[in-house]
């Protein structure tokens, strides 16, 4: 695969970026240093910050983030290095020879306090009216350094207007401290490139191309910048006021669908630490808040597998058996609205590769205002459909003009994990203490396959569990231990797997109208790939453009956010690789504990096909309600 230019840092600075020292073995690779009079030995090239962290010495940071390359712009992490004329930013200082370092000398303490005072002198806002109150890194720093007055003054009037043009992300530059985390997130981690610093000197601020509002630039709404902003300068567009209003209105039937990732992370908002699944507790809390029904988005995740899987089989059949040349393969997943917007902007010529199946959120929206409304005898006009998502882009997705196939706005509001946690707290509920309850019928509890959609590789695993069984007739658990398709799991940015189809079984009833037999797949090898984070998606897309190995894949899962949905822009803050891994663990553990773990065994889904989508997966009704089209947008702004 062709290597792309990976970071913005020039070659000479690459040693300073996220890469950790490769090996601590071999002669001369360790350096002995002295921190505050204590001797330590660290691998050559370690930064002072890293060395201190390894040895339990705390250094405050602000612009530093484990997911991002080093910037060294905030100067909060200053330390004294003997022999250097000035204080050094410990995050950006690689240790290349023996050093004597002081992290708490009077000079260091005074300088850090001054840096914090200076940051505060340009930061407008009152903590108690800020969405990040009690979860703000600037606030914590001020507390850590005992700031009791504004030594260099404080902004008394807002200098900038809030940019709330976007459905997903709101920018309030009054609260920005120019740490450039959002810039590094957007350019390095996501390769979207919405934000950069503009102007110079004291006029510097973070801005978009031509200073346009966020809604008018090429933003994919992933919200990763929100997750990494240390202050409240970036936040999600919060619909909870409207949702409260709907709940309080007795004429409205308010239903909520909950995605798999929020339940694995919402505990973090209640001081539980990452890695606790609170599915049952959340169901109870949602009913107590006043939602009339609580549904499981995993149901439509299962449905997505049926629709998207069928679509893949149709594409393969047309390409391999009927020899149609214009069939677009590999097929790309369409669950991630950030990814969908990304490809609409950056690779519009590949849009016919994207599965036409809607995302689980939008499928559910279309079903609630049609099938569910019919079944329950409720006027769809009175249904308010809320979607609890780990995602900022879902807010944009539900506002797409084409998402009205039920005759109404399919999903009214996208709510993030953070916003729901706020609503729960506001209702006086302590979530972890709630009793566990199930999801409401007619959609019921879904399968583990739907649940793992929340982790990167999950959609692929869910699809494979179903495809393997439907095609080969062999139980997945006989192929992969405990049904865990390990080759597609993990956190490597890009993963690739091959599955040889050695034997085929009979065609199951539900697919009989589409294919006569499976003989054409016998001896074939199914090639799949997975990418998470749009920077990784870009690598795969460039490889496909160049005709590399990924162009020979059959099915590729793309997720816009690092880690998949569990690392989404609506998830609790902070985020790090460690936190995301714990959330994934919680999701996979819950999956392992469920009785049904394959989408095609979800009996509610089969009921839906018997009862409503009577012409089967990818049939006429499902095409009308569950499939969509995309808009080529391109990269140019007029």
């Amino acid at each position: 695969m062709k290597e792309n230019k990976e970071t913005r840092a020039p070659e000479s600075q690459k040693g300073h970026t996220i890469e950790k020292p490769k090996s601590s073995e071999g002669i001369g690779s360790m350096v002995s240093i002295e921190i505050n009079g204590n001797k330590f030995s660290v691998p050559l090239g370690t930064t002072i910050l890293e060395a201190c962290k390894q040895n339990q010495i705390h250094i405050p940071t602000l612009c530093h983030h484990d997911d991002l390359c080093i910037a060294g712009v905030c100067r909060v992490c200053l330390v004294e290095v003997e022999g250097m004329r000035t204080l050094q930013a410990s995050c950006a200082y690689s240790i290349t020879h023996s050093l004597k370092i002081h992290t708490t000398s009077p000079q260091v303490r005074r300088a850090r306090r001054h840096v914090i005072d200076l940051l505060l002198s340009e930061h407008y806002g009152e903590c108690y009216s800020c969405v990040r109150n009690n979860n703000c890194e600037l606030q914590s720093l001020a507390k850590e350094y005992g700031v009791d007055k504004f030594t260099f003054g404080h902004v008394s009037e807002p200098l900038f207007e809030e940019d709330n043009s976007s459905y997903s992300v709101i920018r309030d530059m009054n609260k920005c401290v120019l740490c450039k985390r959002c810039v590094r997130t957007c350019i390095d981690l996501q390769e979207v490139g919405v934000l950069e610093s503009i102007n110079r000197g004291h006029e510097t601020r973070i801005g978009t191309f031509l200073d346009k509002p966020l809604a008018d630039v090429i933003c994919i709404n992933c919200g990763q910048c929100i997750n990494r902003c240390p202050t409240g300068a970036l936040k999600a567009n919060d619909p909870s006021d409207e949702i409260w209003q709907a709940i309080d209105d007795p004429t409205k039937h308010v239903v909520i669908q909950t995605a798999p990732s929020p339940r694995a992370a919402i505990g973090e908002e209640f001081e539980l630490g990452p890695g606790h699944s609170l599915t049952g507790q959340m169901n109870t809390a949602l009913r107590r808040i006043g939602f009339n029904k609580v549904f499981d988005t995993n149901f439509t995740a299962d449905l997505t597998i049926m629709e998207e899987g069928t679509e893949l089989i149709i594409r393969l059949y047309k390409a391999l058996v009927e020899g149609e040349k214009q069939i677009a393969l590999p097929q790309f997943t369409s669950c991630s609205p950030g990814w969908v917007k990304y490809i609409e902007h950056f690779y519009p010529e590949y849009l016919d590769h994207v599965s036409s199946a809607k995302s689980p959120q939008q499928m559910f929206g279309a079903l609630i205002k049609t099938w569910y409304a019919q079944k329950e005898g409720i006027d769809p006009a009175n249904i308010v459909s809320v979607a609890l998502m780990p995602c900022a882009a879902k807010k944009y997705e539900c506002n797409r003009p084409e998402m009205v196939d039920s005759g109404y706005k399919d999903v009214d509001y996208g709510l993030t994990t953070r916003e729901l946690a706020q609503m729960i707290k506001e209702s006086g509920i302590y979530l972890p203490e709630m009793e566990k309850t199930h999801f409401d019928d007619p959609f019921g509890d879904a399968s583990g396959a739907g649940l793992i959609f929340g982790a990167t590789g999950g959609v692929m695993e869910a699809a494979l569990r179903t495809i393997i069984e439907l095609v080969t007739g062999v139980k997945v658990e006989n192929v992969f231990e405990n049904m865990n398709i390990v080759p597609v799991r993990g956190f490597e940015g890009i993963r690739y797997a091959e599955l040889p189809i050695e034997k085929v079984g009979p065609v199951p009833e539900i697919l009989k109208p589409l294919v006569p037999n499976w003989d054409w797949l016998k001896g074939a090898t199914l090639k799949v790939a997975i990418a998470h984070g749009t920077a990784n998606a870009k690598k795969i897309m460039e490889d496909i453009k160049a005709g590399g190995k990924f162009s020979e894949c059959h099915f590729i899962e793309f997720m816009a956010c690092p880690g998949g949905c569990l690392g989404g822009g609506g998830q609790p803050i902070p985020t790090s690789q460690e936190i995301r891994a714990k959330r994934a663990e919680a999701i996979y553990n819950e999956d392992a504990s469920l009785p049904i773990r394959k989408s095609h065994e979800n009996k509610h889904v089969l009921d839906l096909y018997n009862d409503f989508l009577t012409d089967g997966p990818c049939g006429h009704i499902s095409h009308k309600l569950l499939h969509t089209h995309y808009t080529p947008r391109g990269k140019y702004i007029a």
Binding site: E196, S197, N199, F209, L210
Partner: protein, 157 residues
């Protein structure tokens, strides 16, 4: 912008990219080339440079807004930059500034209606021993007096 204009601009930028290379470090000379030919770097030009260097338009915009000698708004045919730093100020920059504003009928940061002159302040031009100093396009003038400044402006086309 007309399609033909866009095409010729694209072609021109491609040539600059061929000349200076596709590295990030080529960004400045390419932008300077565009600035020289067009007196400003249009929105389209910025996006085109970004596409050819495989970077993001906002990064180009960031660089353009950082440097005073790169501009993203159309400038007049001539750009007059008066030094505003302390030594020129002490040599009597203020009187020169007033005279220029009166002569051109515009304030600093503005362009005359006939697009003849854009007037700006500059920071130190390095002529501290000969102040007040000003830069007219690429030409430095020093030891300015209000009369001398007006004389220089009158010669502009």
């Amino acid at each position: 912008m007309l399609v033909m204009e866009k095409n010729s601009l694209s072609e021109e930028i491609s040539k600059l990219v061929d000349l200076y290379g596709k590295d990030r470090s080529s960004l400045l000379p390419i932008l300077q080339g565009i600035e020289k030919n067009h007196k400003y770097i249009s929105d389209f030009a910025q996006q085109e440079v970004a596409r050819l260097l495989d970077i993001h338009p906002v990064e180009v915009y960031s660089v353009v807004t950082f440097y005073s000698f790169l501009t993203h708004k159309p400038m007049g045919r001539n750009v007059v930059r008066l030094c505003q730093t302390i030594t020129c100020d002490m040599f009597g920059k203020e009187a020169v500034a007033k005279a220029i504003e009166r002569e051109l009928g515009i304030k600093f940061g503005e362009t005359t209606k006939d697009k003849k002159v854009t007037l700006e302040y500059a920071n130190c031009l390095g002529m501290c021993d000969q102040g007040p100093a000003m830069l007219v396009n690429d030409q430095v003038y020093s030891h300015l007096t209000p009369e001398k400044a007006i004389e220089i402006l009158e010669k502009l086309k």
